[in-house]
């Protein structure tokens, strides 16, 4: 059952800004990563889900209710983390969290306490004096404390240090196990890689790919960097593969599978060093994003 449904929405701000004919959905219990560079339309899409703006064309629904017209009914089941941090500066962190709990009619404060502990947040300081990371943690507490069925998170890890980013991934995984439906926008690929079931990629306001994470993993290439004894060997080796970069003795390229064949070839020449790693989601995305199609037929 799809919980969040976005059908052919267009919101044109002029000058190619906005989103154009965007459609995708999020199934119950699914975690979907919403990827795209800055200004690609992620936040514009999320604003429509939150009922802040109305699409020019198309339909946005959550639980089959229109996100703009029935915003207040929909909001009850959403935990939302805005992309921009803007709190009420006249409160301290804890006051603001408590205020939001009351506004959202949250009676049980256990989850709130638990989150504050988990994120190692000291919410008692003045919000004005807080670092970006601290504020982000407060936003995360507010989004998760209501134990809402749906979580809509706009750039949830911005401002967090790598340690906290890992904790956040843990948090998402926990919520996922508990059956939450999650849509999170991001431009940090690791967190999406470790949490999401599916990835929606957007560029210039248009969806360029929707892909299952399993498929991405399965079809993901390896990135090899091999240093040869001499340039002649390197060049000779490079001829076997496509799109190979040769830099003196050093050869680098992407390859999917064919490991035995590669090893066989390598065993016949003198090599100094070999490095292999998985292609990052970022590199994968660049293929779509840059329109750089060289040998990218993995899907």
């Amino acid at each position: 059952m799809s919980v969040i449904e976005i059908q052919n929405i267009t919101k044109d701000y002029g000058g190619h800004k906005g989103v154009f004919d965007v459609s995708f959905d999020v199934q119950k219990g699914e975690v979907v990563g919403f990827l795209g560079p800055n200004g690609s339309g992620k936040t514009t899409t999320i604003r429509q889900l939150m009922g802040f703006i109305k699409p020019d064309k198309g339909k946005v629904t959550i639980f089959e209710k229109d996100c703009f017209e029935k915003a207040s009914e929909v909001q009850g089941s959403i935990g939302y983390l805005p992309g921009e941090i803007a709190f009420m500066n006249d409160m301290n962190g804890l006051e603001f969290i408590e205020f939001m709990a009351k506004m959202k009619k949250i009676k049980n404060k256990e989850k709130m306490q638990e989150l504050i502990r988990f994120l190692e947040l000291d919410p008692k300081g003045k919000i004005k004096r807080m670092s970006k990371g601290m504020k982000q943690k407060i936003g995360i507490v507010i989004a998760f404390m209501g134990d809402a069925d749906i979580l809509i998170l706009d750039e949830p890890t911005s401002g967090l240090d790598p340690l906290m980013q890992n904790k956040f991934v843990e948090l998402i995984q926990k919520e996922k196990e508990r059956g939450k439906t999650i849509l999170m926008s991001s431009h940090i690929f690791e967190e999406v890689e470790h949490t999401c079931d599916r990835v929606v990629m957007i560029k210039d306001g248009q969806i360029i790919a929707v892909e299952k994470m399993d498929n991405i993993r399965k079809n993901r290439q390896k990135y090899y960097e091999i240093e040869f004894e001499n340039e002649h060997e390197a060049r000779k080796f490079a001829d076997y593969y496509q799109n190979v970069k040769v830099d003196h003795h050093r050869v680098s390229f992407f390859l999917k599978g064919e490991v035995n064949e590669l090893l066989h070839r390598l065993s016949q020449v003198q090599i100094v060093e070999i490095n292999a790693r998985s292609q990052s989601l970022e590199e994968l995305f660049l293929h779509y994003y840059g329109g750089d199609n060289h040998e990218w037929n993995a899907f």
């Binding site: 703006i53 207040s72 959403i78 805005p82 939001m100």
Partner: protein, 265 residues
């Protein structure tokens, strides 16, 4: 209406209220204290000597009784402008800054609809306006009865203050309408404050001479006539009520616009 939000907004605007209460205390008590039954005549003389200047600040015929004196010196200009500035600041704090800074995203990510938010903020605005005017009324009544044996005609005075509240309901809901309708502070606050400022200027001009008297038809401030109200003039009462009705129109407009509009959150 949302009780949590109401409490929060009342609490976070106490300081601003106290500042404005202090300002009106200063002006209110000083002007009441300036009253001297004998001075009335000499002021009248000054007013005949410099009619334009006195008229511009709404001080036509300073009058002889304490009530006349107060209505002239406080209700012609000061108690219009000071609470208006208070309203403008409140419109910024209650609506415009939330939209401009984006913190309204939190206020809307709750299971209440936009109109509940709007009505709560509007109610807070009116309550603060009411409190300021109620406070200044009590203050003037208190100072007058402390300093002058004869005091002032309480009923007339309260009648004028009720009308003053209607005027401020009109002006502040007008500001609030702009605050709800625009994204950037320069429009959301600038338009309301600017229009209000124009009303005051037009009124000042219209009183300077008879040739520009027609200007009074271009400012709603004309609908608030303290002297006629104090005399329980029925026309003046109708005008005051039309201000209240006007404020209801602003509120309905604000609600219609705010419900439908895109918010930059």
């Amino acid at each position: 209406m949302n009780g949590t939000l109401f409490k929060k907004e009342m609490k976070s605007n106490v300081k601003i209220f106290l500042i404005f209460a202090a300002i009106v205390t200063l002006y209110g008590s000083v002007i009441v204290a300036m009253y001297d039954p004998k001075l009335g005549e000499s002021l009248n003389m000054m007013a005949t000597a410099m009619p334009e200047l006195f008229a511009a600040f709404g001080m036509v015929d300073p009058g002889l009784t304490l009530l006349d004196f107060i209505l002239n010196y406080l209700y012609g200009f000061l108690l219009i402008v000071i609470p208006f500035v208070f309203s403008v600041i409140l419109c910024h704090r209650l609506m415009a800054r939330y939209i401009d800074q984006g913190s309204m995203a939190y206020l809307l990510a709750v299971p209440y609809n936009r109109n509940v938010l709007l009505r709560t903020q509007l109610f807070v605005l009116l309550v603060w306006n009411f409190l300021l005017i109620a406070y200044v009324s009590v203050l003037i009544l208190g100072v007058s009865s402390l300093m002058f044996k004869e005091g002032i005609e309480v009923l007339s005075f309260l009648w004028v203050n009720l009308a003053l509240f209607f005027l401020h309901a009109f002006l502040s809901s007008m500001c609030f309408l702009f605050a709800c309708s625009f994204n950037e502070t320069k429009f959301s606050i600038g338009l309301g404050a600017g229009l209000g400022g124009c009303f005051v200027l037009i009124q000042m001009l219209s009183k300077v001479s008879d040739t520009v008297d027609f200007l009074k038809y271009f400012t709603p401030l004309t609908l608030f006539d303290p002297k006629k109200l104090a005399a329980f003039d029925s026309n003046a009462l109708c005008w005051a009520i039309s201000l209240l009705l006007g404020s209801i129109v602003w509120m309905i407009l604000a609600s219609v616009i705010f419900k439908k509009r895109d918010l930059p959150l």
